[in-house]
Subunit: 134 residues, 2 copies
DNA sequence: CTTGCTCCTCTAGTCACTAGAGAATGTAGG
DNA sequence: CCTACATTCTCTAGTGACTAGAGGAGCAAG
């Protein structure tokens, strides 16, 4: 017998707020769970996994529609790996470019702090750095 | 004599859509530009730079309020060095944590791609990797 | 002059949540 | 068993940062 999980328990175990879970259900990202006699949602271990997956994918910056696609592919994984691979590769490019530009900005702010500690801000180049990066 | 730039030209040069430019003006991120006799907005080269900066900062995930502060910080570099230093250090922390998180995410995605070497469908572990990463 | 592009303002819609009201149901202490 | 409080329910509305569309006016080219 598998134990029932309330929406609150699911929330804390997956690290996703209760209203967000209901929102995911509303948009069809999570299936409608069975309910108790008194109309409360009951989940199982699989729901925790699915929701954890969604949370991590969101943290990675994947959009809901992409996650929806990945979940669909995961449900029948024949021939789906290449597609997921492509999705991930596309996102990796975005992440790399962000890291690059952030690092440039970091150096510039560090430079500002250094000149500030010497009692003068000769020239603020923050805007320049971000205006025409790379 | 500096040449006038229409909102459409500014849009394509900065890579920011026309309604977004008007939105930025509305929330005070861009100053209200002068207008032609027929009420059309006219910008200059400096507007292009400022807007480019905003676009890149947004792409890096900075919130509008943070960008507003950074612009202010860049505008008055001469006085109150201590305050500028504090602001800069604060921003540096944010930038550092952002780089850190992005780098972690990058490794996760790279791990996903490695686990998902094409042609070996049985070995696709992307969903698993994202469900319980680390 | 007329066709079509750009611009104006305004309202409303989008995404991915987030917050709050008000009611019912579940749980723990006394 | 009663009471107090927590959790859940549905519903509506708000957020940030845009985005799209209506309806109208100006401008430039053929």
């Amino acid at each position: 017998m598998k134990k029932d999980i309330s929406i609150g328990a699911l929330s804390s175990r997956a690290g996703v707020k209760v209203p967000t879970i209901r929102y995911y259900e509303e948009i069809g990202l999570l299936p409608e769970p069975t309910r108790t006699e008194s109309n409360r949602r009951i989940y199982d271990e699989q729901s925790v996994d699915r929701l954890c997956f969604i949370r991590h994918a969101r943290e990675l910056g994947f959009e809901i529609e992409t996650i929806r696609e990945m979940l669909a592919l995961a449900d029948k994984p024949q021939r789906s790996c290449a597609r997921v691979d492509a999705l991930a590769r596309g996102h990796l490019k975005v992440i790399d470019s962000r890291i690059e530009r952030l690092t440039a900005l970091k150096h510039e702010v560090e430079g500002m702090i250094r000149s500030c500690s010497r009692g003068r801000i000769a020239e603020c180049r923050i805007i320049e750095v971000l205006t025409h990066p790379g």
